[in-house]
């Protein structure tokens, strides 16, 4: 791939979300990308922990993903959900025991043969800038084996990015900000 072009303007620095976003960022049905009654709905859940393995109850997570057919949608209505329109984006404040849940669908591959994943952004008090990572679906092992990011990681790191499918069809994805099995977090071209 060619070199990413240099930025013309210096980017504004990020800062921590802090502890007091509760009246601002959460909204009704924020974590329900689809209705729970939708036969294709999938629960995506897990816990977020710190370097001591303790949960981080004051964090906020966002996901952004393609629909079941791998289409990236561009539809408004995320903040005022009508229960029918899939917008691909959701947000949730983690609960008091560090657990989160999204109701969504399994994203399809955006290109044939690609490993489908959900993009995840982590914000928390104590975290000075947002973190990005990917939640890969566990099923398509051939696509996972061919994935450029996963192929560049050790087996231990790779595991941190692949969700587990539970018996009821739910996806389990835990986030470890620090320490043993620390989740692999990502940087992209053109950040500075």
């Amino acid at each position: 791939m060619a070199q990413a072009p240099k930025l013309k303007l210096a980017p504004t620095p990020g800062q921590t979300i802090g502890p007091f976003y509760g009246y601002a960022l959460p909204f009704e049905k924020d974590n329900k990308l689809v209705n729970q009654a939708n036969p294709n709905s999938v629960r995506l859940h897990g816990v977020i922990t710190d370097g001591k393995g303790e949960v981080i109850p004051d964090s906020l997570l966002e996901i952004w993903q393609a629909d079941e057919n791998g289409n990236v949608v561009s539809r408004d209505g995320s903040l005022v959900r009508d229960g029918y329109t899939f917008t691909g984006w959701g947000r949730t404040a983690v609960d008091n025991v560090g657990h989160y849940t999204f109701t969504t669908v399994n994203p399809g591959a955006t290109e044939e043969g690609k490993a489908p994943f959900i993009m995840l952004t982590v914000f928390a008090r104590g975290l000075l800038n947002r973190l990005f990572t990917r939640i890969y679906l566990p099923e398509n092992t051939a696509a996972l084996a061919a994935d450029p990011l996963l192929s560049s990681l050790t087996e231990e790191q790779r595991k941190t990015l692949i969700a587990t499918r539970e018996d009821d069809g739910a996806l389990r994805f835990d986030i470890r900000l620090q320490g043993e099995n620390e989740t692999v977090f990502l940087s992209y071209p053109r950040e500075s």
């Binding site: 210096a10 009246y23 370097g51 949960v55 917008t87 104590g126 992209y188 071209p189 950040e191």
Partner: protein, 277 residues
């Protein structure tokens, strides 16, 4: 996880809110900040590229100690979903949500201000039609939040939350009340400079960011480990709004300008490159 910690985190008393809170003095915190900044300055003199973002490992901000990854961020080329962003529009945000002074029956107490500017990407292109969310303390330094137990008055006419959708040139404008500084538990006698939290989206989801806007000349800047986690002075300055008399309106509100620059979009150049083949 100890039950003790769980209790502390959920207990509605800011005195025990943060298990990382310490009794360190401001002098200790300031010395740590100075030492990190001096080491950074030496690196820049030695030819290192200027930093544009806060350190996520910044010990003077005690809560960051256990909440930052210890491994380097893994560099990756963005894929399709990462090159796009969710769409927001009139359905999501009512035009009146950008006025934080009209959300209740009465006028909020404090200095009425307008904060206006543009959201741009790293190439200077306006980010149009995107969501901007803000939240802030009131004119006494108090948030509407069950965990904020700072004994300053709540203003029944001020919630401190606003939203807007950027215009065709990336422009936004909020009418609000100037927030006050407030104390927190990072160290003994710790005070945050007055700030407004901003949440921003770009054209690519990789541009997603949350930050804080500050006011010019705040005497608390040099003491604040969150602001000083940005080691570079030019970068720190980018979080400070400018008093702008052209935004100030006659007998109504003073005005501040603050433009926000997101990181660079990867969609355009990657698509162009694909088109070359």
């Amino acid at each position: 996880m100890s039950t003790e910690t769980t209790k502390d985190e959920s207990f509605e008393n800011s005195h025990v809110l943060d298990p990382a809170a310490t009794a360190d003095s401001q002098e200790t915190i300031s010395e740590e900040i100075t030492s990190i900044h001096e080491a950074y300055r030496q690196e820049v003199i030695a030819g290192k590229q200027a930093e544009t973002q806060p350190r996520i490992n910044f010990a003077p901000y005690r809560s960051s100690l256990l909440r930052h990854p210890t491994k380097n961020l893994h560099h990756v080329d963005p894929e399709t979903i990462e090159l796009h962003s969710p769409a927001f529009g009139q359905r999501d945000v009512h035009a009146l949500e950008s006025d934080l002074t009209i959300q209740h029956n009465g006028e909020p107490i404090g200095e009425r201000i307008v904060v206006a500017g543009r959201v741009l990407d790293g190439d200077g292109r306006p980010v149009a039609g995107q969501l901007v969310e803000i939240w802030q303390a009131n004119a006494a330094g108090r948030y509407i939040h069950k965990r904020d137990q700072h004994p300053a008055p709540i203003d029944p006419n001020f919630t401190g939350v606003g939203r807007a959708i950027t215009g065709p040139n990336g422009e936004y404008s909020f009418t609000t009340i100037k927030p006050a500084p407030y104390p927190w538990k990072n160290h003994h006698n710790a005070w945050r400079p007055a700030h407004i939290h901003f949440s921003l989206f770009g054209t690519d989801f990789t541009q997603r960011m949350i930050t804080q806007m500050y006011f010019p000349g705040d005497p608390l800047f040099s003491l604040d480990p969150i602001y000083q986690a940005i080691t570079d002075q030019d970068a720190r300055d980018r979080l400070v709004a400018t008093y702008d008399h052209s935004i100030t309106s006659h007998e109504w509100a003073t005005g501040y300008n603050w433009d926000i620059v997101l990181t660079g979009s990867n969609r355009t150049w990657m698509e162009d490159e694909e088109g070359d083949h």
